[in-house]
Subunit: 463 residues, 2 copies
């Protein structure tokens, strides 16, 4: 007998009325009386469980009635519509086949567990309601990203993770090596002899695919990366992981406004796609994780995002009368408290802050005519603060070269990046969206460790 | 004036007839006579160029006529259908705006370059016909993978790259560390003190996401990974890279046949999707890279893949009378020469070889009843040999535990993997498809370095 997915029955209940089906899944809850019992079965493909009713007409009634939670079953039975019950239908079991027995010490019993505890059983937490919803959102949101760009003709650029260069000219990186750490080979002058390493030179895990993506944009016009990036920052916060996924579009013939248009469209697209495609999961988050979630997301989807300059933002903050932990003056990097005040209290919707002081931004951002600012923009959203960062890239060879020198970067490391400015430069722009950042925003989960299946953070690389 | 993509005009030529458009792009070729000239412009979003006709009625005729290849332009002009010419239409320029001048030493001149040379200018090679086609196939094929699984309700599992465990119980791995290699901290007994490292223990780059994916499959039933994996193998071949992308589906309640059904469907789906969506690129490969390409791909798409056991395969090979470099006997790992002979000469279509000797397969593959073989299967395709490897996974706790001991693996490293067999095991299966492997198959490109934007191989991590 063919098996039927639980989702299929939920989406076509009428059609299945009184039909015989075979379903597979794991026991979420089970209770029994003397002659009958109920199983909440989850088949993994859908957020909701399916109610199975069984009684002592099945051969193995006693055995089934005693099954521990999480045992896996195959069930043949009839779909019965139940208009007056909590659930729209149930399955009256004819046969229950036990595929795999669980054990009574199964760690995910019915009682509520803390998110901290669930992290210690990351191999099982996908079976809980919360993480069943989180990781399905992650999957569907990832697909939304690909759909968005592919529908628009962007080329997916899978840029390298092992790199000899440090994109941001900053950022602490993980070393990648095959040298024997017990016996590191040294050169005559006592330094590490990287010529003996796998790549014949020092290599690290990348902090960004942007520079590689720019080479692709100047061939394909519109490209995007979507892959893992790494930061070896020793910061044990709820928002930082050592390994996370980034989306980094780069667009030739595009200026700062084009980037902002695309980023606004992308953020709205992802949220709408998730809301439309997995409403049960989103309803769960709105009910149990963050009661203001739908309001917040609706506001993002339905607002025209604002655009103000950094200089205006500083003015607004200074004149607000609000006391901030970090005092505001022109030249500072905006802190989360400032960002949230702007987007939540002042504008009440997402805003782009543009034209930041060059000294707090990266070397590749395009210098504005004022000599003080660069054509950068960050997207701030209510509830979080910065969610997207991007800029127009410096396309002028000499200006870029001077900036590299000014900052003491090694020009030789950037020969190919500079050459892009020599052979058919165009104005071009791009941005980075931290995938976990937007997942936290969409789900209301407040710790990055809870939107990554197996998170890697300072001091922790379990599983 | 809004800009129009070249692809849009190609796909709707009649609609654009005699219309004014603005196009952007880079000069691929340019030639001029005294009073007029022709530009082949490529805008990056489409494989084909667009022919621009300009004459001395434009202000900057002389300047334009002298532009080096790869200069970037914005062109306003009229679309004129040209029924008798090589190209279906051309644009008669009214205005040509020079966005970025290239230089006369642009390395991609019109003459044909070797693939080896193009690797040395990987930052520019996407602008050549060949790599414009390769990387667009890569992008579209990646999207096909996501579509295939998402349409079928599989959850995309982004499994970690930094790992404390070695999935295959084999495979040379890259170390990931933030220790100072000039001064590696040591414990009292002279060993590397990993407690001082970022994660507080020894970590490596993963060779497979499979074990993590299995945890997800036992929560979500059907999942897939699609991400980078790493091998620090010192093998300088045309088929090995140190960093490559893998697709690794895992399916609960699935046996070996279910895996083979899914893998067959997936391979056919990717090929068909690419052929249908970017026919111009595929035509290029069939004409200039591999004249037998379409025949080979058609054969894959239209065959019902065969299925034979390893034992049958060995018999067939031994009885074939064919001389092999590596002699065939039961127990050997099949070499590419054997695989290709089977799929090309004997069966003339893709075949799965199943039930390999357990001693040449990984510890997690399900033991068959014969005590000698495991429920593994490799997919062999004409022209290449193995393209997919997979198996039913050992779901029996004791059998798996014994196998781990037998092979001298450290049971503690697998505590969570073993627990999957304790709390609601199901039969389950999965496989791995090397993304570059199938890209090479689809394009006819014979070196893995030519299907990765910036390849990482032994001794080479440039750009």
């Amino acid at each position: 007998m063919e098996t039927t997915l639980v989702k299929t029955i939920y989406r076509n209940t009428e059609k299945f009325s009184d039909k015989e089906v075979k379903v597979l899944g794991w026991i979420r809850t089970i209770r029994d009386s003397k002659n009958f019992g109920f199983i909440e079965l989850n088949d993994g493909t859908f957020f909701k469980n399916i109610q199975i009713v069984f009684d002592n007409t099945i051969d193995n009634f006693k055995e089934v009635a005693k099954l521990p939670i999480s045992s896996s079953l195959a069930i043949e039975g009839k779909v019965v519509i139940t208009p007056n019950a909590k659930q729209p239908f149930e399955i009256h079991a004819k046969n229950i086949f036990i595929e795999g027995m669980s054990s009574s010490d199964y760690p995910l019993q019915k009682k509520r567990h803390t998110l901290e505890y669930l992290r210690t059983i990351a191999h099982l937490r996908g079976r809980s309601n919360t993480f069943s919803a989180v990781f399905r959102v992650r999957s569907v949101a990832a697909y939304a990203v690909h759909r968005f760009f592919q529908e628009r003709g962007f080329v997916y650029a899978q840029t390298p993770l092992i790199t000899g260069s440090d994109c941001e000219g900053a950022g602490e990186m993980f070393k990648v090596t095959t040298l024997d750490l017990n016996n590191v080979p040294k050169t005559e002058d006592g330094k590490v002899d990287y010529s003996k390493d796998f790549f014949g030179k020092e290599t690290n895990l990348t902090v960004s695919g942007q520079l590689s993506a720019e080479t692709m944009a100047l061939a394909f016009r519109n490209v995007y990366t979507f892959g893992p990036t790494f930061r070896a920052e020793d910061s044990n916060t709820a928002r930082h992981a050592a390994e996370f996924w980034m989306i980094e579009p780069e667009m030739a013939f595009a200026d700062l406004n084009d980037y902002m248009d695309t980023a606004e469209e992308l953020v709205k697209y992802i949220i709408k796609y998730v809301l439309e495609n997995i409403p049960e999961e989103m309803q769960f988050f709105n009910s149990f994780i963050d009661k203001g979630l739908f309001d917040r997301l609706d506001n993002v989807v339905n607002s025209k995002f604002g655009r103000i300059t950094y200089t205006e933002a500083v003015d607004v903050l200074r004149k607000s009368g609000q006391k901030f932990e970090y005092p505001v003056e022109w030249g500072i990097d905006l802190q989360t408290e400032h960002e949230r005040f702007l987007t939540e209290k002042v504008y009440g919707k997402p805003i782009f802050v543009t034209d930041y002081p060059k000294d707090i931004k990266a070397f590749y951002m395009r210098a504005n005519g004022d000599g003080k600012t660069v054509a950068a923009a960050d997207l701030l959203v209510p509830g979080v603060g910065e969610i997207v960062g991007g800029s127009q890239r410096e396309e002028r060879y000499e200006v870029l070269e001077n900036r590299i020198k000014e900052l003491g970067l090694n020009k030789e490391d950037y020969w190919w990046y500079l050459e892009l400015r020599k052979y058919g430069e165009t104005k071009h722009s791009g941005f980075g969206l931290g995938f976990e950042r937007i997942l936290m925003y969409i789900t209301g989960m407040s710790n990055i460790r809870d939107v990554i299946p197996f998170p890697r953070t300072t001091g922790s690389a379990e599983f």
